[in-house]
Symmetry: D2
Subunit: 341 residues, 4 copies
C-alpha cells in the first residue's frame, strides 16, 4: 500500500499517519519529495487490507492511498500453478475444448424444450440452458415456471445427453435449484447479492457467475472470491455485456474482458453474446470473436420460434441459425488451436 500525503502537510501530520500504519502492523518506508511525502507500507495488517486503506484515506492530509497487491486470493492467477478446468457433469470448461451452452431464455413447455435440445445437441452444444426462475425488470412480466420448469429442463437435458444450467436468485431456493442442475447461474443483477454468493459457496455444484452490468474486473473477481472463500472453487466467469452510452445494442459486449480476466485469474471465462448485444444478427459474429480472443465457451440463446418466445426473442437464434453458426465457430476454434464439438 502506498500513501501519498498532501503537499503542505505538517511533519506532525505525516507522523500521525506513520504511527497509525505501525499500529496496524505495517512496516513503513518513507520518502520525502520536494512537493509531497510518500509512504510505502508493507506487511500483514491486523485489519483486512481494504479496510486499512479506507481508514488511511480518511485522514484530511492523505491525498491518495494506492493498493499494490490484489484484494482477492483464491481466484488470483498466482494462487494456482495451472488454469482451472471446471467439470460440469461430463463436460470440461477451461480445457482445450470450447464449450457451447445453448437453449431458450425461459423454459416454457415440453415441446419447446425437446425441440431445442434435440437440435442444439445435434449441432454440437454440450450444455442446455433455460430459466425456471427468471428475473424481470417489470413485476408484471412472466417469472418462469418454477419447479415445473426445473423438472422439464432436467428431463430434456438427460434425454439428449446434455448437462443443464439454470439461474438461481433466492438464497432460500438454492438447494432446490441445485438438486436439478449441473451448473448454477448467478445472473448479472445478483453479482453482488452477497448472501446468495455465500449460499452457493457452500455447495459442490459448479457456479457460472455473470459479470454485473457495471462491474469492474476487480469487483467481478471479488464476487467470485465470495464463492471460492466459502469452499466452492468450481466457478466459471461469464462476460455478458456492460452498460454504456450506446443504445443501439442492449449492452456493450466487452470482449477484452476475456484476455484480461484470464491474466488476472485461473478461472475459465465464457461469453454470452445474446445478452451482450440483444440483437440476433450480431450474435454469430460476436460468437466467433469471443472464440478468437480466447473464450472457453459460449452461452447462446436459441428458441424454436423466437417471435413467440416468452422472453428475449429479439436476441434468440432459431434452430437453423444456430446450426449454421456451429461449423463457423468450429473453424475459428481450430484456427487458434482449440477444438469445438
Amino acid at each position: 500500500m502506498i500513501i501519498v500525503v498532501r503537499p503542505g502537510a505538517s511533519s506532525d501530520q505525516v507522523q500521525s499517519v506513520c504511527d497509525r500504519l505501525v499500529e496496524l502492523g505495517y512496516s513503513i518506508h518513507r520518502s520525502d519529495g520536494v512537493e509531497r511525502t510518500i509512504i510505502g507500507a508493507v506487511g500483514s495488517p491486523s485489519l483486512d487490507k481494504v479496510e486499512a486503506a479506507e481508514q488511511l484515506r480518511s485522514y484530511e492530509w492523505v491525498e491518495n492511498v494506492i493498493f499494490v497487491s490484489r484484494p482477492y486470493k483464491f481466484v488470483a492467477r498466482e494462487s494456482k500453478p495451472q488454469r482451472s478446468v471446471i467439470k460440469c457433469r461430463d463436460v470440461e470448461i477451461g480445457g482445450n475444448e470450447v464449450v457451447v451452452m445453448a437453449g431458450p431464455c425461459t423454459v416454457e413447455s415440453e415441446d419447446q424444450m425437446d425441440a431445442t435440445a434435440r437440435s442444439v445437441a445435434a449441432s454440437g452444444a454440450r450444455i442446455l440452458r433455460g430459466g425456471a426462475y427468471k428475473p424481470s425488470t417489470s413485476p408484471y412480466s412472466f417469472h418462469g415456471l418454477g419447479t415445473e420448469g426445473l423438472e422439464l429442463l432436467r428431463a430434456v437435458g438427460d434425454r439428449y445427453g446434455l448437462a443443464v444450467c439454470t439461474e438461481v436468485m433466492d438464497p432460500r431456493r438454492v438447494d432446490e435449484v441445485a438438486a436439478y442442475s449441473d451448473m448454477l447461474q448467478i445472473g448479472t443483477r445478483n453479482m453482488q447479492n452477497y448472501d446468495l454468493l455465500r449460499e452457493v459457496g457452500q455447495l459442490k455444484v459448479p457456479v457460472m457467475l455473470k459479470r454485473g452490468m457495471s462491474a469492474k474486473y476487480e469487483e467481478w473477481l471479488l464476487a467470485a472470491e465470495y464463492i471460492a472463500s466459502g469452499g466452492n472453487e468450481a466457478i466459471v466467469l461469464c462476460e455478458r455485456g456492460i452498460r454504456s452510452f450506446e443504445t443501439y445494442t442492449r449492452n456493450m459486449l466487452d470482449l477484452a474482458a476475456v484476455p484480461v480476466v484470464k491474466n488476472l485469474s485461473h478461472l475459465p471465462v465464457i461469453v454470452d453474446p445474446s445478452h451482450g448485444t440483444g440483437i440476433r444478427d450480431l450474435v454469430p459474429p460476436m460468437c466467433l470473436a469471443a472464440i478468437a480472443c480466447g473464450a472457453d465457451g459460449l452461452m447462446v440463446e436459441v428458441h424454436p420460434v423466437p417471435d413467440h418466445s416468452a422472453k428475449d426473442g429479439a436476441q434468440s437464434l432459431d434452430l437453423q441459425q444456430f446450426a449454421d453458426l456451429m461449423p463457423k465457430a468450429r473453424s475459428v476454434a481450430q484456427a487458434i488451436g482449440r477444438s469445438l464439438r
Copy 2:
C-alpha cells in the same frame, strides 16, 4: 405501442405483424410511408405490455418497437392526485420539511452511536442511520455487528428521539431487521434483488430504495413498483450516485434525478451525497445543491472519529462538520420556501 417495420418488408410480412397484434388483443392503426410502414397498437393486450413488445421485436422485419405508455402503475405520478408523504415514526418525508438522516456507515459500539446520535439530534437530524448488516465488495471486510448492531441502533435512536433506518440484504432477515427499524434501506447492489423487493413489499414498514449503480430512472421506478405492487406503498427513493468514467469521485451524483423522478412519480426523493461523491469536502456543497433542486431529504454519513471509522471514513463528516453544515442547509431550504429542523 408503435411498431416500425423495416424498409422493404413485404406486404405479407407487414400483415403477419398486424395479425399478431390483433391476436394479442390490440386494435391497430397502420400508416404506410414512402420508406417504412408504421403500426400504432392501442388497447389492453392479453400479455404484459413489456412482454408483448419483446415478442414483436423478435420479428426479422420489425425495426423498432416504441413504448409509449409507462410500464409502472402504482408509483406513477398519474396514479395519485397528490405527492406521497411517507411517515417514518413521527417524521414525514415528502412534505414541506427537508428531512435529514445522519449517522455512521456501520454501527460499531455504544460509545460511537451515543456520541453520534446526541450530536446529530442537537444539530437537527431527524433519523439515525447505521448499518448492522453491511454489504462489502470484499469477502474479507467487516460485515457488521448483526443483531447486536440492530439493538444498539434502536436503543440509541430511542434515547435521542430519532427514528432509525438500517439496511436489509437477505430476504431471510427481513422480519428481524424490520422489528428494530422505522425504515428499511434497500442498498444500491440490491435494487434488482427481486425476491428481497417482494419480501419488503409484504411489510407495513417504510422502505428507502437506493438507485442501482447503473440503473436508468425507469428501472429504478420499476424496482419501486415491485414493492408497491406487493402492497407496501411507503417508499422513499434515494439518489446515491451512479457509475461513470470519472474516477476522481467514488460515484457521479446525478442531481437531475431529483426533479426528473418527482415528475415521473409521486414518491419522495432524497439524496445521499456521501456515497454520491465519496469525498468529505464535497458532501456539504452537494447537500446544499440537493436541497436547492428539490430533494425531500438528505442522508449524510457522520462519524465521531472518521479516521478510525470501520468503513467509509473518507466520506464521513465529523460531528463538528455536520453541525456546521446544518444552518447552511436550513438557509437554502428557506430560500426555496421549505423548512429544515
Copy 3:
C-alpha cells in the same frame, strides 16, 4: 512518480528500470516488499513527466506507474495565492457575484435578439450569448448566420449594456470572432481541438472552455492549460453535462464538478443546465442547485418563442420562465452569502 514492479521480476529487470530513471534525471527510492518492488522517483526529468511515465509503463515487468503530482501548472490551485476573477467587459466572473449569461442557442434575427436581450437584461442577466457559427451533429442542419450573426449579437448586446459571448470553432476564424466578442466559447466537441486552443491562447479575450462530453477533470484542466500556457490566463470553465447510460436527459449534469474543479484550480466555474439536461422543466431546479454548490455563474438558453427556435427549443426557457427563475436564483445565492444582479 511511483513505479510498481510486477511480482517475479528479476533483479536485473528491476535494475534496468532504476537505470532508466536515473538516465531520465530522477533520483530514486527503492523499497522491496515481499511480493513487489516499488520505486519512488523524485526530481525533474529531461522529458515531460507524462511522457516519462509512458516510457516506464512500456517495460514488460512494470505493473503500474502512478502519477503523484498534477500534470498541469498554470491552472493549478497551488500556482496562485487567490482565486482568479475573470473580467469580461465590465462583468467579473469568479468574485462574489453569481453571473448569469442568457440568450438563444443561435442568432436568428434582429427581432429575436432584441426581444431576448431586452428581457434578460431587465431580469438581471449580465452577458448575452448566441451562436453565429454553430456545430451540428448533422451536416444538413442550420450552421448559423456567420458574420451577420456576429454583427447582430454585438449590436444588440451594446444596446442593452450586456457583454457578449459566442462560440468559435475554426482556428482560421478566431480573429474574426474575437473582434466581435467579450468572451469566446470553446464548445464541448472542441475541448481537445488543440490547434484551436493554441490559437485562443494567443489572444487577450477571455475564453469560456466547456467540458468535453466524456472528459475527466484532469483532461479538462489540461485543455485549459493549453490556453494558459500560450499566455491567455483569462479562462472560465463551464460544466455542461457528460455522456452517460441514462437517455431520459440529453446529458448527465455533473454538479460535483463545481467544487472538485474549484479545489483543483483557481479558475472560476460556471454551469450550463440547458445542455446539461436538454429539458426545459429541469433547467430552473438545476440552476438553483448549481448556485448552491458554488458555481460562479450560469449559462441559460432563452428564446422568445422556443417552439419556433432554430435549435435547442426543447431546452430553452421562454422570456417569462427566465424572468420567474431569476428571483429564486437570487434567493439561493443570498442564502450562501453571494449576490446575483
Copy 4:
C-alpha cells in the same frame, strides 16, 4: 417522424402540433389512444428533418418525437447496391482481403521508421502508419516532427512498398499532410471537428475516420456524412475503443461496432486494438477477435524498442511480437473465408 402527445393535452394543443407539421410540409396520420394521441408525419419538410424534430420537441405538450428514418444519406447502406471498396494507393480496403496497417505512434527518426517498415512489410502489413502532427492531452508532451516527419514517413513507405497513413488535425494543414499521404487519419478527438471534416471532404485522398471517444454509432456515421456530402466518399471507419467506467484498460474496445456499422453503412470498418486496450498483451487476442467478427482491417502500433518509444510504448508491439501475430491473424481470416497478406 412520430410525435407522441402528452396525456391530458387539449384538442387545441394537439391541433397546433398538426398545424405546424402541415406548415412544415408533412402529411399527417393521427391516432387517438385512450391515454395519448400519436401523430405520424410523413413527407419531405421544408426544414432539415433533424431540425424539424427539434422544433416539435419544443412544444410543452409534446412528450416525445421519434425519428424513424436515418439522418444520413450518402453513407447509408441503402444508398449503394454493394459495399464500398476504398483504394489506398494499391491497397483495397473493404474487399476480401483483411488489410493490416502497422507502425509507430509517432515518427521519431529515420532509423526507427526504417527498422519498423522493413519488418512489418516482411510480416505482411500493407500500410505504414506514423504520426507527424500528434495530439496530446498535455501541452508539455512531444507533438511530433511536423513536416520532417511527413517526409520520413513518405520516403520509408516508398522504400518498402507500403502505402502511408498519418493524422491531420488542423484544417490549415490539410493540404500539406495530404501531399505526403495515401490516407489521412482523423483522430478520435477530432471526430466532430466539423471544419476539419469539411476540409477533407474537398479532397480526393481517402480518409480514415476514428470513432469519437464517446460517439454513438449514429454520430459517427453523421461525421462521415460531413465528409461524404462534401464530395469525398473514400472513407474508412475505425473503431478504437470508447470511454467506460473500467479503468484497467485505456479504453473499452467495442467490437460489436464492426457488424453494427457494416449493417448501417456500406463503408469498410477497421479496428485499432492498440488504442482500444492500451495494453500490449491484449493487442494480439483482440486483433484476432476483430478479424473474426468481420473487420476489414487492423491498425496496430509497432515500435522497434517500445520502452524507448516517444509515445504509446505500453500498447506497442515490438517487431517480433508483430511478426508472431500475423500468421495467427491469417489463420483466423482464412477460417472465415477471407485472405490476409
